[in-house]
């Protein structure tokens, strides 16, 4: 059994934790440079505001309905995400962090210990709420794809109390009928059009297609697995977006190691290679990332291993969004040394890139400016500067001669010196950014 915990309107919810006066009122959060809407409260959704709406276009509507507007505050979102993931890591036997606001829980065999998984899901949901103030929905099902689907239904139907457990065939059949085929995890817009043209309108219709049909019309083995997952048969290592057709909101790369690793250098090399892969995907979809998460898992089946089995670190990149492998690597190494417990056997690691936005928005100002640099810190300058030309060559070489032909050897870069985020000269507008309530001393919430 898998659980999917997904935070509701995550960025908006983070803002509301520290400014409760915005509860029950329409709120939106804008992307970097105050460009587009990237998070909406339920009240804002009800006004017809959509994801990606350009701010300047909907400004009259926002004003007319007195919608509160926030600039994105990745320092806050990253820290709140870290808290949510930390708790999930403590509570469930296995956690795979999927994005800044979503995580899969591996609940295999847990019914024996937990009794009802429905009750467990409700406990998790209440726990996240109590510890962070963030509302979530939880879907529980035999496969990841079905857990995603269950979560989606839980989100749309408040009557369910935020939890849907697809514990039997009848309930699964009902759930499949609730979801349009385009809303199935991994089905992009193009496939959705193709499918509806073929008379396949719902997830239930899709679950009925034959293996052969899926292989032929849904991108080969990826599509066949997707259909199997909908039918309730778990496919290990499923990465529905692996075909690269779908621009992702977050990019994750995780692997179980071939054998458990105990040496820091080994795990670091593994993380470096996952990160290189993720950064390559990031560049391929022409995005940069604001937030980096690294996580490590121990073998939960080992008798001498104590929970938590997974530990994670989330960092809002102090030098600003980047797609540069070397920059990301130097941060990842520092994060890894925090997570590292000497004498531990690790069996899995992963990285997640979040807060994705295309480069260039607001960067025009940098034409005659040095890129994001932190004054008086030489090392910071040399390590944290994007090298798009180098990255382009790297990607070109790897595309031509095969993945991993050219790799970054700098997996042993020293950690960046301390120093809190300094707004880069080109960072541009963030007119309505809230304070970094949880990560900067001078931004702490003030109570009277």
């Amino acid at each position: 059994m898998f659980g999917l915990v997904d935070c509701n309107n995550f960025y908006v919810s983070c803002e509301r934790v520290f400014q409760p006066r915005y509860e029950g009122r329409p709120v939106v959060v804008l992307s970097n440079n105050d460009g587009n809407i990237i998070s909406r409260s339920a009240e804002a959704k009800a006004l017809g505001l959509r994801m990606g709406d350009p701010y300047f276009q909907v400004k009259p509507l926002l004003q007319q309905h007195n919608v509160t507007v926030f600039s994105s505050n990745y320092a806050l979102y990253g820290d709140m995400s870290r808290r949510v993931m930390w708790y999930l890591g403590q509570s469930a036997p296995g956690v795979e962090i999927y994005s800044i606001d979503e995580a899969f829980l591996d609940l295999a065999g847990m019914e024996k210990h937990l009794g009802s998984l429905d009750a467990f899901a409700r406990k998790i949901r209440a726990g996240v709420k109590a510890r962070t103030g963030i509302p979530t929905c939880v879907g529980v099902a035999p496969t990841k794809t079905l857990a995603k689907l269950a979560n989606r239904i839980a989100k749309k139907n408040p009557d369910l109390g935020g939890v849907l457990y697809l514990d039997n065939a009848a309930r699964r059949a009902w759930a499949l009928g609730q979801v349009a085929v385009g809303d199935v995890w991994g089905i992009g817009r193009q496939y959705a059009q193709k499918l509806t043209a073929a008379g396949i309108d719902t997830a239930a219709d899709l679950a009925r297609v034959s293996d052969t049909w899926a292989r032929k019309h849904l991108g080969g083995v990826v599509g066949a697995r997707l259909v199997q997952e909908l039918q309730g048969r778990p496919c290990a290592g499923l990465h529905p977006s692996e075909d690269g057709t779908l621009a992702r909101q977050s990019i994750s790369c995780s692997r179980t190691f071939g054998r458990p690793l105990a040496a820091f250098a080994d795990v670091q090399a593994a993380v470096a290679s996952f990160l290189s892969r993720a950064a390559e995907k990031l560049r391929r979809q022409n995005d940069t990332a604001h937030v980096l998460t690294v996580y490590l898992s121990k073998n939960r089946f080992a008798t001498n291993v104590l929970p938590p089995f997974s530990r994670s670190a989330t960092l809002t990149l102090p030098s600003g969004p980047t797609a540069d492998t070397t920059v990301l690597l130097s941060y990842a190494r520092a994060m890894l040394s925090r997570l590292w417990e000497p004498g531990t056997l690790y069996h899995k690691a992963g990285v997640v890139l979040d807060g994705l936005e295309p480069p260039g928005t607001g960067q025009q100002l940098s034409l005659f400016e040095k890129p994001a640099s932190i004054p008086n810190k030489r090392e910071e300058k040399s390590l944290k500067v994007d090298r798009p030309g180098l990255m382009a060559s790297l990607d070109a070489l790897n595309q031509r001669f095969g993945r991993g032909t050219v790799r970054v050897a700098s997996t042993v870069l020293p950690p960046a010196p301390g120093g809190r985020p300094v707004p880069a000269p080109w960072e541009g507008k963030a007119q309505w950014r809230s304070p970094a309530y949880t990560t900067r001393l001078e931004d702490l919430l003030i109570v009277r």
Binding site: Q19, P20, R21, Y22, E23, D79, R82, R83, V84, W86, Y87, Q90, A130, R131, T132, G133, L306, P307, P308, R311, S312, A313, T314, L315, P318, S330, Y331, R333, A334, M335, R338, L339, P415, A416, P417, G418, G419, R420, P421, Y437, T438, T439, R440, L441, E442, L444, L445, I446, V447, R448
Partner: protein
């Protein structure tokens, strides 16, 4: 399992504040022979952040809790996970704003009480309306006024 596994990564390179615990008095001078008697490193986070995922640092403005030795500029460690009870000092949400007060039960009535005669207690007439943001577990009060402010500025 370690009691507190801090996975907070504010920024790479920023170290935890580890204070050495010595088993005997440290004579002045360097290098210190006391290092042989180092008992371990005590992380103040373990005290202030017992539940690291649920604890938040807040700052105080005003003197409404002066009687409880909570003063303007103090740092509060606030645990959102702890269940608030009678006599706890809490951060409560009143009319959408966060306020620090003592939660007091008198018979069937609940109050948010300031500890300063210049301020009025607030009666919670409708318990549905009361929202506890978190329970205050520790107060960090600076004895040399301005030092904390200076520290904060030096971090910039």
């Amino acid at each position: 399992m370690k009691d507190v596994d801090i996975i907070a990564v504010p920024e790479p390179g920023s170290e935890r504040f580890l204070l050495p615990l010595f088993s005997y008095l440290v004579p002045a001078g360097f290098p210190s022979p006391a290092t042989d008697h180092l008992e371990g490193l005590f992380d103040l986070n373990r005290l202030l952040l017992r539940h690291p995922d649920a604890t938040y640092l807040l700052r105080v403005s005003g003197e409404s809790m002066a009687g409880a030795e909570i003063h303007a500029g103090d740092l509060l460690a606030v645990d959102k996970h702890l269940e608030a009870d009678h006599n706890h000092i809490v951060v409560a949400v009143v009319h959408g704003e966060c306020t620090v007060k003592r939660l007091v039960r008198e018979g069937q009535k609940w109050w948010l009480k300031p500890e300063n005669p210049a301020y009025q207690p607030y009666e919670i007439t409708d318990t549905d309306e009361l929202r506890i943001w978190g329970v205050v577990t520790h107060v960090v009060h600076e004895l040399i006024p301005g030092k904390l402010t200076a520290l904060i500025q030096s971090l910039d």
